[in-house]
């Protein structure tokens, strides 16, 4: 017989009053502001990371940043500096390999990912004693952000936010199609490296708040949840920010109330938002009841919502499009819409 020795620590739930009182303390105000900033920056950068298909690159940056943190702790310096150096080195290296088409992205990312993890374990192994700072960086805790680290977070977050805002339209074009952007005169090469550095900085500054293991979830998941709702970039960014900020602040609240690491509570919250968004996604529901395009006219359907193409094979059939002038709902027709055999038989009858 299998025997389970299942034991969890006793969870004490703090009172709401205690939480509200804690908001008067400087460390809690710092934590709350940091949650806001991390939520905003991760969400914005996440939108472009998601659209550009760079999800695994972020994972590699997070692990390289952890190696940097371990080195910082080993050397007794503020870990943020080696974190930034390691993060930027890994991002730029992967970018270079990608640009020169030396090998496939996933190969170099896989190599970097494991190498930096090995480095981190090596640095931890060299420490004379196990530092609690390592746990703090691995799992993250918004409540432990020092004043100095908060200042650095604020300055770097402002830098990332401002830069992304300035190059947003070019990044959008590159995300749509890099070759087109390049031919049209966008400085694709420079902006690619700049973006990689911004991704590295965003992940690095979020490390203390969310933790090396989970930091990337806060980059990808808010954007992935927002992606389920809209077809517009600005709305996508806005929704992603709302989800990101809500997750980090509510995560902080949960973390305080039940005394758990804030990184994990934030990620659980944002993943719940993603699951809900995925299940009720208007984009998916819309697609489920509709087909891509009119298989008969396969061209623009005018404002009237009815196909007016004189060459359309289905001009004699009840050929109605919905108010968006694109979708033809399957239930309009008794027959399968893609089955065009009834058109042929009608033609045969006419002949």
């Amino acid at each position: 017989m299998l025997e389970f020795n299942f034991e969890i620590r006793e969870i004490e739930v703090a009172s709401l009053d205690a939480f509200l009182r804690s908001l008067e303390r400087p460390w809690m105000q710092r934590a709350l502001l940091a949650a806001f900033i991390v939520g905003i920056i991760s969400a914005i950068i996440g939108v472009f990371v998601l659209l550009r298909g760079m999800v695994f690159l972020g994972e590699a940056i997070a692990h390289s940043a952890f190696a940097g943190a371990a080195l910082g702790i080993l050397l007794g310096i503020n870990p943020i500096w080696p974190i930034l150096v390691f993060g930027i080195i890994s991002a730029v290296s992967v970018g270079y390999v990608n640009e020169k088409k030396i090998m496939r992205d996933e190969v170099i990312i896989g190599v970097f990912f494991s190498f930096f993890m090995a480095l981190a374990i090596l640095f931890i192994g060299l420490m004379p004693y196990y530092s609690t700072d390592v746990t703090a960086i691995l799992f993250g805790n918004l409540l432990l952000i020092s004043e100095q680290n908060f200042r650095i977070l604020l300055i770097l977050a402002a830098l990332v936010f401002f830069t992304i805002w300035m190059i947003k339209k070019e990044l959008y074009f590159m995300t749509f199609n890099e070759e087109l952007a390049q031919v049209s005169g966008v400085p694709v090469r420079v902006l690619n490296y700049l973006f990689l550095i911004l991704v590295a900085i965003s992940i690095d500054i979020s490390l203390r708040a969310i933790g090396a293991i989970l930091v990337f979830a806060m980059v990808v998941t808010p954007a992935a949840a927002a992606y389920q709702w809209t077809f517009r970039l600005n709305r996508l960014i806005l929704l992603s920010i709302i989800f990101g900020v809500f997750s980090t602040t509510f995560g902080l609240f949960l973390s305080y109330m039940i005394d758990l690491p804030s990184g994990s509570t934030s990620v659980v919250v944002v993943t719940s938002i993603f699951a809900f968004s995925f299940l009720v996604s208007p984009k998916r529901r819309f697609g489920k009841f509709a087909i891509d395009e009119c298989v008969f006219c396969r061209d623009a359907v005018p404002m009237a919502g009815k196909c007016e193409d004189p060459d359309c094979l289905a001009s004699e059939l009840p050929h109605v499009h919905d108010e968006d002038r694109l979708w033809v709902k399957k239930e309009i027709f008794e027959t399968d819409f893609r089955d065009t055999s009834h058109i042929n038989s009608e033609k045969e009858l006419q002949q």
Binding site: I167, V186, F231, D299
Partner: protein, 264 residues
């Protein structure tokens, strides 16, 4: 090296080569040869393109059609010969920032994610980004230009629709509008109809013809479909690493050249 890879094409019709005065030509290539490493992709290319022409480029796979287009665009540098664009030699350096806007490039049909967060208007506006410049916001004037471009390709009713929801032919027209928003003088297209069925391909070619006739736009398009090229272009250049034919679509020689280039 060139001699070894030289394909014996005895069908170059000198009489078909157009005599265009240099002053009149937009683009001029003289004895251009391009290689990828040791492999020669193009050689002995001399041609001139004048304003307002509708030129169709044909040739089998790996015949150097895209290389020719990229050489003109300055993306690939020739190892021999001179490429002149708007009177400036671009064989060594690239296009100047100002001249870049004078040429619009439309690629093959892109594989656009149907959920990509961009409307038709957003995609057309992208064509204005280089003109607007880095760190600058989109102006009212840019939106106006985008609308005018959409109007030229008859997509003004679809501006709010997500780009991924359009049919292949419409998406290609959006990409043409994106380039038109730059106000180019030449449209260079790399097999814009390759992934489309005949009906859609014809509607795209018809649109190009309209742009050429109504707005005087110079069209330079690669297309595998000789039937469509014959119907719409004023000049056909058939290449197989070098120019095998350069002349009118009605030239009786074209048939035999195509036969030789594609099937021999």
């Amino acid at each position: 090296m060139i001699q070894q890879s030289r394909i014996q094409l005895d069908t170059v019709q000198e009489s078909n080569k157009r005599s265009i005065t240099p002053n009149n030509s937009f683009i001029r290539l003289k004895d251009v040869a391009v290689a990828y490493g040791q492999e020669v992709a193009l050689f002995d290319i001399s041609l001139e393109i004048s304003p307002g022409e509708f030129i169709g480029i044909c040739g089998p796979n790996a015949s150097g059609k895209t290389t020719l287009l990229k050489t003109i665009l300055g993306i690939i540098k020739p190892f021999q010969g001179i490429v002149t664009l708007f009177g400036k030699d671009v064989s060594k350096g690239g296009l100047s920032h100002a001249d870049r806007f004078r040429i619009g490039y439309v690629p093959q049909l892109l594989n656009i994610d149907r959920n990509f967060p961009a409307s038709v208007q957003d995609v057309i506006l992208m064509g204005r980004y280089s003109r607007i410049g880095l760190f600058r916001r989109i102006r009212k004037e840019d939106r106006q230009k985008a609308w005018e471009a959409a109007e030229k390709v008859h997509l003004e009713d679809t501006l709010k629709r997500p780009i991924g929801h359009l049919s292949g032919g419409q998406q290609q027209k959006v990409l043409i509008a994106q380039v038109l928003a730059q106000n180019p003088e030449i449209l260079m297209m790399d097999e814009p109809t390759s992934a489309l069925d005949f009906k859609m391909a014809r509607s795209v070619m018809k649109l190009l013809d309209e742009l050429n006739r109504n707005y005087g736009l110079t069209i330079f398009t690669i297309n595998h479909n000789i039937r469509l090229l014959r119907e719409f272009s004023q000049r056909i250049i058939c290449i197989n690493k070098r120019i095998a034919f350069d002349g009118s679509p009605n030239d009786p020689v074209l048939e035999s050249v195509v036969e030789k280039v594609f099937f021999s």
